[in-house]
């Protein structure tokens, strides 16, 4: 039997020490009528050799990014991951440890997560970051709950329609059970209309949720939006694409009270949607209202620098139903990947990566917009993703590209971009630093035919 250690004679010695006649006797606590009388109906065991062949077969039936040319976006991106990220994350001292409850036995993880918090603060321009949440969508919801605690306003949350639809849907799910209205402001121009936002915000609003670059790739007027929220005593929650911060104003510098992000682009593989990384940072004054784990620096009994789980009185294992969140297991290994990734890039690498994304995306947009019947759907500034509108629908263009080995999209559904005209004709195109001019030119050629 795979992974079992003790031999039959050792097992017998163990039973003798226990004073049990058989292993079955150890399950006497389970009432007989409740026991399973048949073997589980799951597929038969495979040896390692057979398993590898089976998984290779399954893997071969997926159109992964290495075998095709990826212009897919919509919240997950094909960014480059340096080998050093994998080298660190595959250290089993990290990946086979668990939550660092015993500080003395976990200084490696604790310091790494403290480094993560430090780097996220530097990246976001804010003062405190937690040690990770599940992913970008739930990070928005956790930020919204946090804003309700900070403002003591529990009845109304305003979110821009340009925020990732998954994040908006998750928020709707999370707010489902409590009597809180989620107001969505349509964004027909690709970004929010400031006058409309000012009209919707009121003095009962807990927070305004902004995403920039937003789901359509466009850059919101973040500074003005944060100011509008503050004018009503609401918090400004800004969700961003971490790599864009090599060029763009940091959320904290633009006035965000809480910054969140999907951290996938920070050295985390696509892996069909997860595990990813929920990033959350905020102003220092809100620290005791934060969800999730926080690592702090202190000293030990001999005065040595030491890292510990800190401010645990916010958390579920202490505070139970009064905790700031129910999160326990978070995304530790993904936070470690992001830490190594950001360190490898450094400030210059981050700026160069962001610039490559920006330049290549704009080149692709200029070229694609020359195709007959194709235009950019919005005039707003964008970072590395944009919306194409195709006369006659997005489907045919997507299919033609796909047949030639190019993946674009996703296509937009009406609920993905409230207010945007003719969404059924629209699709997203994302261009990362990994795409080349030759790939972009070939895509244009394929679609021009």
């Amino acid at each position: 039997m795979a992974y079992l250690v003790n031999t039959p004679s050792e097992r017998q010695q163990m039973l003798d020490a226990i004073g049990a006649a058989s292993v079955a006797e150890l399950f006497d606590q389970i009432p007989v009528p409740l026991r399973m009388e048949r073997p589980l109906d799951i597929p038969p065991a495979l040896t390692e050799l057979e398993l590898e062949a089976h998984l290779r077969d399954l893997a071969s039936r997926n159109g992964a990014v290495g075998t095709r040319v990826c212009f897919l976006g919509g919240g997950a991106y094909d960014h480059f991951i340096p080998a050093a990220v994998d080298a660190v994350a595959s250290r089993s001292e990290f990946y086979t440890a668990y939550t660092p409850y015993q500080a003395e036995a976990s200084q490696g993880s604790l310091q790494a997560f403290f480094e993560y918090q430090s780097l996220i603060c530097q990246l976001m321009g804010l003062e405190v970051a937690n040690a990770s949440l599940y992913e970008g969508g739930t990070a928005v919801s956790e930020a919204v709950f946090m804003a309700m605690r900070v403002t003591d306003r529990h009845r109304r949350v305003v979110v821009l329609g340009s925020v990732h639809p998954h994040a908006r849907q998750v928020c709707q799910t999370y707010l489902r059970q409590i009597d809180c209205e989620l107001v969505t402001i349509p964004t027909p121009d690709g970004i929010a209309n400031l006058a409309e936002v000012a009209r919707v915000l009121d003095d009962q609003t807990a927070c305004l949720v902004v995403q920039s670059p937003n789901y359509l790739g466009c850059l919101e007027q973040t500074r003005e939006l944060c100011a509008a929220a503050h004018k009503m005593g609401a918090l400004a929650i800004v969700s961003c694409h971490p790599l864009s911060l090599g060029l763009l104003t940091r959320p904290g510098d633009a006035g965000a009270d809480i910054a969140v992000a999907e951290g996938q682009s920070l050295g985390i593989p696509l892996q069909y949607g997860g595990p990813y990384l929920g990033v959350l940072a905020c102003r220092e004054e809100f620290v005791r209202k934060m969800p999730g784990r926080l690592i702090g620096e202190t000293i030990d009994r001999l005065g040595r620098r030491t890292f510990v789980l800190n401010l645990q009185a916010r958390e579920q294992h202490i505070r139970r139903e009064k905790a700031t969140s129910n999160i326990c297991t978070n995304q530790g290994l993904m936070a470690l990947r992001a830490t190594v990734f950001l360190t490898l890039l450094g400030p210059e690498g981050l700026r160069e990566t962001a610039n490559l994304c920006l330049q290549k995306a704009h080149y692709a947009a200029r070229r694609l917009a020359t195709l007959p019947g194709v235009e950019l759907a919005t005039q707003a500034p964008f970072f590395h993703e944009f919306v194409l509108r195709c006369r006659g629908g997005a489907g045919p263009l997507l299919s033609r590209a796909r047949e030639a080995g190019f993946d674009l999209g996703p296509a937009l559904a009406p609920q993905d971009a409230p207010g945007l005209a003719a969404p059924q004709d629209c699709l997203l195109v994302a261009v990362t630093e990994q795409r080349t001019k030759a790939q972009i030119d070939r895509l244009v050629d394929v679609l021009a035919r």
Binding site: I42, G63, Q102, E104, E297, H317, M334, T343, G346
Partner: protein, 488 residues
């Protein structure tokens, strides 16, 4: 041998102008930034990240890794966490490019291998639970709890019922009440049950038409099978409530008894525990839920469906359940962890899954038999996959606390058990050996504990003595929180 340099932080190691990653030159005609972006959206300088070379970075993080205890280096009997061996084949196979590099917006026609895997995972988890409808979405156990509670809530709403209360025993994990509160329920903790079992009389007094869900961990957090679970379920069902099984302790019962067969209506798995996720220094986890058929229509979407027409290979599709509560996260779940769990279940097969639980219970009972003369185990002579020892007498007689014992174990080369949980046992040490430990390791652990309980109390209060740090000042950490590097 130990490199103590690693206590320096990245920002302290930074030297202006140092670099690791290099990017290729821009191969498209470059347009000046000001023509592409409005000036007010652009930062004057990039974020002040540390500047290091690749060799420096690698040495830093590899040195950090050596300051951890882990399953691959140490026995790690952390109760309720199932710290079993994480198979290397799972790591390799989850990294196959066709799986790890698959974009979540890839169309289903070009994701059939992945969808087949996930569908098969849904089926296996449904069978092991005895609860056929499965959602793979939740990112961890706590999110599984929350998702199931929302599912229950939607179900009751569909029947025109208003049920406001979630009940749980005092021995429940902290996530149970936290998830119930997040889902908008009133939390009711049952009194009694100091023997670890649900107090039926107390349960009866609390059950009424307001009861939505009774949450219970089975085997419970004392490592005992709830002997009255069938009666518990009957009572809850009698008032129209649902029974939720916290699956943290599934490692004891897979293939032996099923939550669906002992009265559970909903449950979550911890794939990172029971099916070797791995634990990743605190995640990512994966917390799929399995529920009864009548709750399936309310699960979060999307789920994976299999369509088979005659003489054609099956086709897998993404569907949203008709009365879905909606999304609980982006995309499809912590797929990378689910792939590892799939590899594990396919390696074990039906007999192997059962053997896994049998040996987990055998190891735990052997350890209990050897240990009970060293430290009292209030619950008695038998357990499932874990048990809770108590240092209460030791504390009263010699001033040695559970924390002292835990810390001194680190010096002996063992990770500590879970301490001070469950709350119903004073000076608790919750010990879960798992099935992947040898008899010799368990014997050595017992010997270490035998030595420790005779140790000089002063020496123990200052333990550990061999680790990079010892007894952090938690009060100082909380009073003057330092939560990031600050230039001094």
């Amino acid at each position: 041998m130990r490199n103590m340099q690693a206590t320096q932080l990245l920002s302290e190691l930074s030297s202006p102008g140092r670099r690791a990653a290099r990017l290729p030159p821009c191969d498209v005609p470059e347009v000046p930034l000001e023509q592409l972006l409005p000036a007010e959206l652009v930062s004057s300088a990039p974020p002040p990240l540390p500047e290091l070379s690749e060799p420096d970075i690698i040495r830093h993080f590899i040195n950090l890794s050596t300051k951890n205890m882990s399953v691959d280096t140490h026995f790690y009997p952390l109760g309720s966490c199932t710290m079993k061996y994480n198979p290397k084949r799972n790591e390799r196979l989850a990294s196959l490019p066709g799986l790890v590099d698959l974009h979540p917006h890839q169309v289903p026609e070009l994701s059939q291998g992945m969808l087949e895997l996930l569908y098969s995972m849904q089926q296996m988890l449904g069978e092991i639970a005895g609860l056929p409808a499965v959602s793979l979405q939740p990112a961890a156990g706590a999110q599984g709890e929350f998702t199931a509670l929302l599912t229950a809530s939607a179900y009751f709403r569909s029947r025109g019922e208003t049920r406001t209360r979630v009940l749980f025993p005092a021995s429940a994990h902290g996530t149970n009440p936290a998830s119930a509160a997040l889902a908008g329920f009133e939390c009711v903790q049952l009194k009694g049950g100091s023997d670890g079992f649900v107090d039926l009389a107390e349960l009866k007094t609390q059950l009424d038409s307001r009861t939505a869900v009774f949450m219970v961990t089975n085997p419970n957090t004392l490592g005992m099978f709830e002997k009255d679970i069938a009666e518990v379920a009957r009572l809850v069902h009698e008032v129209g409530g649902l029974v939720y099984i916290d699956g943290a302790n599934m490692n004891a019962i897979c293939g032996i008894t099923r939550p669906g067969d002992f009265g559970g209506d909903m449950m979550h798995y911890n794939v990172h525990k029971t099916f070797t996720g791995p634990h990743g220094a605190g995640g990512p986890g994966s917390g799929p839920i399995a529920v009864r058929d009548f709750l399936g229509p309310f699960l979060p979407g999307p789920m994976i469906e299999r369509h088979q027409t005659a003489n054609e290979p099956p086709v897998y599709r993404l569907v949203n359940p008709p009365h879905s509560i909606g999304r609980v996260r982006s995309f499809f779940g912590n797929v990378g962890i689910l792939v590892r769990g799939y590899c594990y279940l396919r390696t074990l097969g039906p007999a192997g899954v059962r053997a896994m639980s049998e040996n987990a219970v055998l190891n735990a009972n052997y350890l209990l038999a050897c240990l009970k003369d060293v430290l009292p185990v209030p619950q008695g002579n038998r357990c499932m996959h874990e048990f809770v020892a108590s240092a209460k007498e030791l504390k009263e007689s010699r001033g040695i606390s559970a924390m002292d014992v835990a810390k001194r174990l680190l010096d002996h080369g063992f990770h500590a058990p879970t301490v001070y949980f469950p709350l119903v046992v004073a000076e608790a040490l919750m010990i879960e050996p798992t099935e992947t430990e040898s008899k010799e390791t368990l014997d050595a652990f017992v010997e270490a504990l035998r030595t420790i309980v005779r140790d000089d109390p002063t020496h123990l209060h200052q333990a550990p003595h061999s680790t990079p740090v010892s007894r952090p000042d938690d009060v100082r950490a909380a009073r003057q929180p330092i939560l990031r590097w600050n230039p001094s």
